[in-house]
Amino acid sequence: MMKTIPITDAVALIPDGATLMIGGFMGVGTPERIVDELVRQGKQNLTVIANDTAVPGRGIGKLVDAGLIARTVASHIGLNPETQKQMIAGKMAVDLIPQGTLIERIRSGGCGLGGVLTPTGIGTIVEEGKQKVEVNGLQYLVETALRADFALINAFLADYLGNLSYALTGRNFNPIIAMAADTTIVCADHIVPVGLIAPDHVVTPAPLVDYLIMNG
């Protein structure tokens, strides 16, 4: 059953060294308040699985700025020079994964699958060290499932039960990572009464949410 929780308590649940999936695409749809609190509490040695590391001073970029990330698993870091600097200096490990493969690996992790078969990366350096299989005459890479200790979600609407809906391009990785972590923590732009989000408009069902961060 979902619990509502003050932001300081929610972030206190996250230990140093945790693996975090964080929603957002270039900072859009990232739970900014959770990021700020991670920085304030100075969580160390984090592994972050996300589409990108945004830009300095925004979203996941704030975790990079504060030097809190030991490993990043992402599809693109090109717009954050600080991530590149820490990677080149050997302060942060970076695994770069094609975006469609990254999201499918996360989806697999949340859906009880061992991974997916994808043609993306065949014939490139992405295939190095990976198993290849032939299905119906076509070559695929075996891309294994990804899971995390915590999924940190930004929703547009959450009701008191934890049903979530998203707005515009803020959806991106959020509903997929909501299924792929041991503990899912949500920071919503608006918390509304149960029933206000129409059943057809709920994207993430309430039972997937462990903690909803209180306003304030």
């Binding site: 695409f25 270039m26 094609p98 975006q99 707005a167 991106n172 990785f173």
Partner: protein, 218 residues
């Protein structure tokens, strides 16, 4: 009026896009293609961060923080637009539902293989959606300047890491339109004021030269 290289490229590629197509434009010159679509041609533009129906940059004061393109910049959504998560977005891309993708390039080889995502030791931004787009889109068009610092970008074999094992379909530069069919680079058109000899001289891969090579109309 003398047209700059990027405008020539964008205008020529715009002619490849037809009403009803689902199209994904990469960053840089590809983004400019949208500026040259005639008003009566209605394209579904996809932003891979989860939007079909991407419209122009909003008027001042009208940006919404949750309505952005793949670079995180504010865009608008046209009537009939829809939004979706990243798994759906890349299902569209990888699953062959995108009719055309237009992307930039660092190198293209004579067989149409593309390198456009990293320069080892220099530039390691990550592939983002490029590998999925080249692997899955129905048609891949490359928009690029023909040379970089005077050196050909169309080469015998790519020395940079490849983006996909799938060859591109067409390349448009300010000097040429080149089709890649059956593993051969075929010169279809030359750029405004450019001769076939100039294209051949600026290209390091073998070009097939058909009897009729037309001048690019932009």
């Amino acid at each position: 009026m003398i047209m700059d290289a990027q405008t020539i490229i964008a205008k020529r590629i715009a002619r490849e896009l037809k009403t009803g197509m689902l199209v994904n434009l990469g960053i840089g010159i590809p983004t400019k293609v949208a500026n040259f679509i005639p008003h009566d041609v209605k394209i579904f533009f996809q932003s891979e961060n989860g939007l079909i129906g991407t419209g122009p940059i909003p008027e001042e004061g009208m940006a919404h923080p949750l309505l952005t393109d793949a670079g995180g910049n504010p865009v608008t959504a046209l009537p009939g637009a829809c939004t979706f998560d990243s798994a759906t977005s890349f299902g569209l891309i990888r699953g062959g539902h995108v009719d055309v993708t237009v992307l930039g390039a660092l190198q293209v080889d004579g067989g149409g293989l593309l390198a456009n995502w990293m320069i080892p030791g220099k530039m390691v931004p990550g592939m983002g959606g490029a590998m999925d787009l080249v692997t899955g889109a129905k048609r891949v068009i490359i928009a690029m300047q023909h040379t970089a610092k005077g050196k050909p970008k169309i080469v015998e074999a790519c020395t940079l890491p490849l983006t996909s094992a799938r060859p591109i379909d067409m390349l448009v530069s300010e000097m040429a339109v080149i089709a890649f069919k059956d593993g051969k680079a075929t010169l279809l058109e030359t750029g405004p004021g450019v001769t076939v000899e100039q294209v051949v001289a600026a290209t390091a891969a073998k070009l097939v030269l058909p009897d009729k090579i037309s001048q690019m109309s932009v």
